[in-house]
Every structure is written in structure tokens, then in C-alpha cells.
Amino acid sequence: MSTRPGLWLCAFGAAVAVFLIAPSVIVVVMSFSSGKILLFPPPGFGVEWYANFFRSEEWVGSALNSLEIALLSSMLATVLGTVTAFGLVRGRPRTAQITNAIMLSPLIVPLVVTAIGMYFTYHMLGLGAYAGIVAAHTTLGLPYVVVTVAASLYGLDADLELAARNLGANPWRGFFRITLPLIMPGVAIGGIFAFVSSWDEVVVALFLTTPTLRTLPVTMWEQTKSTVDPTIAAASSLLTTFTLFLLLISVTLRRFSAGMAKERVA
């Protein structure tokens, strides 16, 4: 495979890359349009729609709701998921196998099915809209945390924990002084995953939110169906920028933890 890839392959790859990226780019371009409706090419450029976004109580309010719910549920998922991963990796294999299957099941069930089940059940449990959506998003974020933290724990030299015990640390201090700092990149990546999964989640939110408590994706969903107002393009661009930022953090963290692993081997 020492030869350079052929021209056709390069051209095809470039086309696929355009296919992947173009929609996001076009949304950003459109969000700076000065036109009243989504016309391409835009008649001129301006930041009117961003101003509109920040003036609108509906948009800003639902963005703040989303932020709050995503922060809260990802924090809950991170703590719960880290503890669970620890029990999985350091417990007995048989318990781990069953637990693992159950913990990962939310990733397999279609969101529509999950959403309807939750819609029925959370009423019966007496959960309000806010508590319900936080519970739902915590549940949906948990698998990501469990998987990433379990992966970092497997990558951790088990002797480090034994060494801490041997040097006089009880199990708790060993965990907080040695294990936790070393798996922190994995915990953070898992937390970011959980945050993004809540932040972007539409289907469950559609069923659990009420007109008085909407998340940003729900507001966008409503707008997509009813208007062609480019404010939604501005909202989309903001979302994409935010996500890109989180992606960069996670890539950096991953490099960092990969670097640590390499040093340990060396």
C-alpha cells in the first residue's frame, strides 16, 4: 500500500466529504442571510436572525431549559455511571455480564419505543415534566458513561490500586487519590457524551415536555414544522458550534489519556 491513492478514489472521497459537511456549512451560511425566508442564495448578509434568536423568549428560554436539563442529567449520569463501571470492572465477572447487558440496553431500543414507555410510566410514577425528562436523559446518558469509564478502568494498571492499598490507603482513599484522578479523562469524555445525548435529544423530550417546559430541540422541531423563518438556522448554527467545541474537548481528552497509557507502557 505504499503507492498514493488513485485520482478516482480521491475524487470520490472528496465528494463523500462534501456530502457529510455541506449541510452544516449551508446552515451556517443561511443563518447569516438578510432575507426574510430561507432563500438560496441569500440576498445579503447580516446577523439579524441571531439577534432574533436572543430576543425571543421562546428560543432563549428553551435553550436555558436544555442547558439546565443536560447539565443536571449528565452530572447524575456521570456519578452513577462511574460507580456502576467500577462495580462492573472490579466485581465478579458473572454479575458484570448481566449488569452490562442491562446497562447498555437503552442504546438498542428505538427512542420512539422508549419515549412512549416513559410517557406512560412516568405519569404513573407521578413524575412532573422536569423530573421526568431529567430521569429520562439520565437513563439515556448512563450507558455512555459506563462504557467509557469501564474502558478506562480496564486500561488502568490494576497494580496501582493494589500499591495504594499496600501503602496504607483504605479503599475509599485509594479510589479518590489514585483511581479517580487516573480515569478522569474517561469520566469526562463519558460526561460529555451524556451531556450531548441530552442536549440533542428530541423524541423522548417531545413526549415528556409540556408547552411550559420545552427544550431547545423541541422548540426547533415545532419551528421546523411550522415556519421557514431563518431564526432556526441561527439556532442550528449555535448548536453546531457548541457541539464542535465539545467534540474538540473530547478529542483532546482522548489524546491526553492515550498519552498517559503510552507512558505507562514505556
Binding site: 494498571d157 497494580d159 496501582l160 493494589l162 500499591a163 495504594a164 492499598r165 499496600n166 501503602l167 496504607g168 490507603a169 483504605n170 482513599r173 485509594g174 487519590r177 489514585i178 484522578p181 487516573l182 498517559m260 507512558e263 505507562r264 514505556a266
Partner: protein, 379 residues
């Protein structure tokens, strides 16, 4: 660092660990006196590391007990044992500096800050890394990391120090330097040391006593000389050091006891037989160390001119390996055994030996070691 005189008497009583994923251990017992440097030697999977884990408290034995200075600590959790340990891959905490690594056990014991600083300084000075306190473990060489691990295990003055193949990851030269350094440091501090290795040269060089493991059992405990010169059985004899081995039966031939091995009759020393207490007719093995064997071409005339009786066997040189200071000859003997003989490259007529040549090997019968053939099959 102060001497730990008088503490560190460790007694392992009938430790067994037969179930679970760890390598098994059957009824292992060992008495270690304060200040001893004991090596646990054996092939991998023979139970050495399991023993160490039990002493450290990482594993609770199914039966048996661990007694330290008269106190049964079998059920004491690892963090309350005050036993130091150097791990195979050092297990230095990668996110802490060297000084913080060494300070860790002291912080866990909630010592005052000033005491911690002083003790860490002293421990790092002891391993000649005084200037490296601010570095991260990854910035150090393998040998330096090894020393940090040693300093960290010693800084809280444990009564017993455990070392699990601590030199396994180092290259040969560094390993030899570190062997001497470890011995010196441990002697200075006066710790009891339990040292796991599968390297028999390391065991012979470092230990006051060696415990030879095989299949979860301790086959023999003794000084390096004991183990090498007076092995308890065939496994110990063949695992520690190189040897030429004959299997056979003890027979009385003309007032002298011989080993009859596939038609070859080899005279045995009475003292050696007496030590193992084997009777005439009993199956036995004869082990001869390479340095005890001399070699000469067949028919070179010169006969037994010494006062001491010699044993002799004929054979054909199969292989010669030049090793610098010695030449190693592999000889196929009459009766099927294979002999290993080391000679100086310029060692007279023997030095000119070539593959295919018919030779006779000889040894002082007092140098032949008689052992019972049990206790393991091969090295």
C-alpha cells in the same frame, strides 16, 4: 533511616490456595527470621506470587495463616499491615511527582508535613535520587523508576519488604548493578525481605536463603550453597544450576555402591547416599554439576593419577558452543544421558574438542550428588 532490628519475624503456616484464578498453593510453610533476605524461586505459575499476595493481604488464603512478630495478620486488610511492596512494573502513580509518590504512604498515615518532607528527602537520598523529587515517573529511566519504587516501599519503615520480580523489566547490565544496590540498601535498613524471582542466578546472588517452589509446593528452603550443593530432590537439582543427570537404581558392585543407569555403572559417594538415605535397590538420580566434570579424548592414556576415586563415562561430542570465558560442550553419553561440560577455551587437549569426537568425561565421585528421583520431573 533507622534500623528495624528485631522486628520482621514472619511465619507462613500451611498456606493453601487451590481455587480461583490465581496460581495454586498447597500447604506452603516458611519461617523467616528478622533481617533475612529470602528469595522465592520457581518457574512461573509455581505459587511464588500467590504467596506474596497473601503476605501483602491482597488475597486471603483458603487455609493457613500469616504470623508477623507473633501476631496473626491473616485477616488484616492490606492497608493496615505495614508491609512494603515493590511491584513488578513498579506501580508508580503516573499523576504524582516522584516526591509525592514517596510521600504517599506517609500522607496516608497522616504524618505532619515537616516529617513527611524530611523522610521523603532521606528516602530519595538513600536511593540516590535526591535531585529527582519534582519529576514525574515517566521522565525517569527504568532503573530510576525501580529505585523510586524501592524508596516508596521503604519510607514508612515497614517490618517486611516484598519484591515481585522487581528487576524483570531491566536489561542485564542494569539488573546486576541493581542487585547489589538492593542488597546494600536492605542490609543497611535491616528489613526482612521476601523476593520473588524466576532467575536462579539472581536468587543465588542475593539471598540469605532460597525457597524453591514447584507446582504450588515449597520443595526446599536453604542457603544458596545448600540448594546448589545439596538439593533435596531432582526438581531442585535440575531447576537450580546446570547439570548432567543420570536416572537409575542403586546397586552394590564390589563393595562400592553404584548407580546402574541404562547399562552404565557409576560409582557413588557413600556420604551422598547417606544424606538422602536411599537403600540398595532403590531408584535414584545422580546429578553432576558442569564445573565438576573434566573431559578428555578417548585413549589419551593418562589414567587416574589423583588420590580420589573418579567416575567416568564415554560419549560423543554433539555440540560445542563458544561463550567467551568458557566453551560449553554437549556430549551424548553411553546409556542415553546428555552431559553438559564447561571447559576453558584453551584448556589443553580438551579445548580442542570438536563435534563428533569420542571423549570420556570424568568427575570426582564426591562431587556427584545423589537425589531421590521424585519431587518433579524436569526443569
Amino acid at each position: 533511616m533507622t534500623k528495624n532490628a528485631g522486628v520482621g519475624n514472619l511465619r507462613l503456616q500451611g498456606l493453601s490456595q487451590l481455587y480461583g484464578d490465581t496460581q495454586g498453593l498447597r500447604e506452603a510453610s516458611l519461617d523467616v527470621k528478622a533481617g533475612e533476605f529470602i528469595t522465592l524461586l520457581g518457574p512461573s505459575g509455581s505459587g511464588k506470587t500467590t504467596t506474596l499476595k497473601i503476605v501483602a493481604g491482597f488475597l486471603r488464603p483458603e487455609t493457613g495463616s500469616v504470623i508477623l512478630d507473633g501476631k496473626d495478620i491473616t485477616a488484616v486488610p492490606p492497608h493496615r499491615r505495614d508491609i512494603g511492596m515493590v511491584f513488578q512494573n513498579y506501580a508508580l502513580f503516573p499523576h504524582l511527582t516522584v516526591a509525592r509518590n514517596v510521600a504517599f504512604p506517609l500522607e496516608m498515615r497522616r504524618l505532619p508535613k515537616s516529617d513527611i518532607a524530611r523522610k521523603v528527602g532521606a528516602a530519595l537520598a538513600l536511593v540516590q535520587l535526591g535531585a529527582y523529587g519534582d519529576r514525574r515517573p515517566r521522565e525517569l529511566s527504568g532503573g530510576q523508576q525501580q529505585r523510586v519504587a524501592l524508596a516508596r516501599a521503604l519510607v514508612f519503615q515497614p517490618s517486611v519488604l516484598l519484591m515481585d520480580e522487581p528487576l524483570g523489566a531491566l536489561d542485564r547490565k542494569l539488573r546486576e548493578t541493581m542487585q547489589i544496590e538492593i542488597i546494600n540498601i536492605c542490609r543497611d535498613v535491616g528489613h526482612t525481605v521476601l523476593y520473588v524471582t524466576h532467575d536462579q542466578e539472581e536468587a543465588l546472588a542475593m539471598s540469605t536463603r532460597i525457597a524453591v517452589y514447584h507446582d504450588g509446593r515449597i520443595e526446599q528452603v536453604g542457603t544458596p550453597e545448600d540448594i546448589y550443593q545439596r538439593p533435596a530432590n531432582l526438581f531442585v537439582a535440575t531447576f537450580v544450576g546446570e547439570s548432567t543427570t543420570f536416572l537409575g537404581r542403586i546397586e552394590q558392585v564390589g563393595g562400592q555402591q553404584h548407580l546402574l543407569s541404562n547399562g552404565v555403572s557409576l560409582p557413588l559417594s557413600a556420604a551422598s547416599i547417606g544424606r538422602v538415605g536411599l537403600a540398595t535397590g532403590a531408584p535414584a538420580a545422580l546429578v553432576v554439576r558442569p564445573e565438576a566434570i573434566s573431559i578428555r579424548p578417548v585413549g589419551s592414556g593418562a589414567s587416574n593419577n589423583g588420590a580420589r576415586p573418579l567416575a567416568a563415562v564415554r560419549g560423543r561430542i554433539q555440540n560445542c558452543v563458544y561463550l567467551g570465558s568458557v566453551r560449553k560442550n554437549v556430549i551424548a553419553l553411553e546409556g542415553g544421558a546428555t552431559a553438559l561440560v564447561r571447559v576453558a577455551p584453551d584448556g589443553g587437549s580438551a579445548g580442542t574438542a570438536e563435534p563428533g569426537q569420542e571423549v570420556e568425561i570424568r568427575w570426582d565421585i564426591e562431587a556427584g550428588i545423589v537425589v531421590s528421583p521424585g519431587g518433579g520431573s524436569s526443569a
